[in-house]
Amino acid sequence: MPVLSVRDLSIEYRTRRGPVQAVRDVTFDLEQGETLAVIGESGSGKTTLAVGLIRLSPRSARVTKGEIRYDDGKRAFDVLSLDAERLRRFRWADCAMVFQAALSAFNPVITMWEQFLDTGRAHGMGDKHTVHDRTRELLDLVHLDPKRVLTAYPHELSGGMRQRVLIAMALLLDPRVVILDEPTTALDILTQRAIIDLLRELRGRLGFATIFISHDLSIAAELADRMITMYAGRIVERANVEDLFYRPRHPYSVGLMRAVPRVSGALGSVVSIPGSPPDLIRLPRGCSYYPRCPFHVEQCLEQDPPLIPVDTPDHEAACIRWEAVAAALGSDAEAPVAEKLA
């Protein structure tokens, strides 16, 4: 029984030029304790999807169709049908979110302790001491000194510390799902490393399920069990981590991995994807990756290809040319893509 199952979710933004279809027909399941990575370049709809899951999208956004079914262990309900008060209680208690902008994630004029207390109180933890004990425990878990952190104002802590505090706060109410929206993007490389190790450790200890949004493939590969590639608001490939890294079947996934520099490689080995993502207001006919795709054929213009099983039943790609992709990769070298990530 998946803890979160999303079906045909479509989200669009109203703009002057017309509706922007930021998320289109997204379907996936998140199992208990599992980590699902969502990768894609900027503008692929990752973040819209992430905030859409807890209905925190900006006012201009609208869910046009779909279902977000959350199972809290006792019963399952559709997040989209919750009223305002039940939605408020659902947020953080059932599904917490660690944001990209941890530097500005806290109210600058009140102490960290007050922000923990606010969070606890909003969800019925009426007793100060309960909140305090749990907070201290969690700050210990994220390797921070509770005494120092709790009396501090946000500006008195470094970026890495704030990110840790936000992670600790996300776990305050024991959520079954934690969404991590590029939690390491704003941090330096050493701090990134520490945060990733921390997340891995916490996940092992506490057993929450994670949706990990990232454009950093190497980090995603380290944390995730399964991966989703998004392009132009759609899922274009879905597989477990090994398959996606060693045997990608959608040309966009291949392109993403080629675009990652490797430590041991020659400088020329990084290949960027030519062109830019399509206009989500006027989507091109057929496959939206067509103009940038090295494998494209006439047929690709006929329809936006649906996800179809490739290689194994668990591996799906939205590409009619997946066999050509497989052939190209297979003949090229043993594992040309994964090697870049070694």
Partner: protein
């Protein structure tokens, strides 16, 4: 602990990075670095500069008030020049024969004792006692009007921002910009002319003065009611001239605060709307308004001169105009100085309040807090 966790490492690095700077500040003396000390020093300096300017002003006033007074005394009372000069210098509390720097230091010394000299007109009455009898009324009217407009303006601005583009928003912001562009004296005149004289809804003649003569001052309901009755028109004007400013400022500050990341995170944290509005949006939005309030407080005391004149409210402004008309120079000088001091104190309070409201400015209690 044997191993160093990344967090501890981070802490250590931060401590190391900060230590040279804090050491320099430590050498300068922790006390001087504190915002409260800085604010008070700034206020004292401003008061000093103001009093010096006032001293120079007496000497620059057209026709030298001291000489005029000496002439007047000689003509009226057939005094000798020496007697008249002695009397005049007593009135100004300046020894005219001393060199200018000695006069200046004597003036400062007297000021430090609260001695502003004697009034020309009512002999034997000190300027200080006159000021103390009128200044509280002005501060009361101005303060009440400003505070009322501040709190109501903040509430309306916040609501308007939350209901952006609703009818209420348009009504409140349009009303706010119209009313804030009308000068206070015009509003005062219109009240007198329309409600006082044309329609006779307001008994403007009875409302003159700060309170009805004959009533016993004290903390009785009658006296407080009487004070409010007399102050109501000036308060209304101060209120109306500022409410628009607060509404518009608060509205735009709130709109900006609503866009902040931490507000989105607060929503994701499932905080109640009430808590988000007050502690997360409102508190951050109100910060820039606190310094605006200090500026407004300064301007409105100056503006009170005309408003009190129109309503014949027995405040410092009315007295100032009278002293100018009667060439009561020591009184003029004293009123200007004391009014400035009040504004400086208002600014000081705003400064201190600001550093309390915004921890990023620096905590009055020191850097490490609790």
């Amino acid at each position: 602990m044997a191993t160093i966790t990344p967090a501890q490492g981070e802490l250590q690095i931060r401590t190391m990075q900060r230590s040279p700077l804090s050491r320099v500040r430590g050498n300068l003396g922790g006390m001087w670095g504190r915002p409260i000390t800085q604010a008070i020093l700034k206020a004292l300096l401003t008061i000093y500069v103001t009093s010096t300017i006032t001293f120079v002003l007496i000497r620059l006033m057209p026709g030298s008030p001291v000489e005029i007074k000496i002439d007047e005394l000689m003509n009226q009372s057939q005094m000798s020049y020496a007697d008249a000069a002695a009397m005049a210098s007593g009135l100004f509390d300046i020894n005219l024969n001393a060199p200018i720097h000695e006069q200046y230091f004597e003036y400062l010394g007297n000021l430090a004792h609260g001695d502003l000299g004697n009034s020309f007109l009512s002999r034997g009455t000190t300027v200080m006692s006159i000021i103390l009898s009128v200044l509280p009324w002005t501060l009361f009217a101005v303060g009440t009007g400003l505070l009322l407009s501040f709190f109501l303006g903040i509430a309306l601005g916040l609501v308007a921002a939350y209901r952006r583009n609703s009818f209420l928003d348009h009504a409140v912001s349009t009303g706010g910009s119209i009313i804030s562009s009308v000068p206070g004296y015009l509003i005062a005149l219109l009240i007198v002319l329309i409600f006082g004289i044309q329609l006779r809804w307001i008994p403007i003649t009875q409302m003159r003065g700060a309170f009805t003569s004959g009533i016993t001052p004290g903390f009785t309901p009658e006296f407080i009611g009487d004070i409010l009755f007399h102050a109501s028109l000036p308060i209304t004007v101060f209120f109306l001239t500022h409410i628009g400013l607060w509404i518009l400022s608060m509205r735009s500050a709130t709109l900006a605060a609503l866009e902040e990341d931490h507000v989105t995170v607060a929503r994701a944290r499932g905080l109640t709307d009430g808590r988000i509005t007050t502690a997360y949006v409102g508190r951050n939005a109100v910060l820039p308004l606190v310094s605006q309030f200090a500026i407004a407080a300064g301007a409105v005391v100056g503006g009170a001169v005309i408003i009190e004149q129109i309503f014949v409210y027995q405040g410092v402004g009315l007295r100032l105009v009278a002293s100018v008309n009667q060439r009561d120079y020591p009184l003029m000088q004293g009123i200007i100085l004391m009014t400035t001091v009040c504004v400086i104190i208002a600014n000081l309070i705003a400064d201190l309040l600001y550093s309390r409201l915004d921890p990023r400015i620096g905590r009055a209690g020191g850097a490490t807090g609790k």
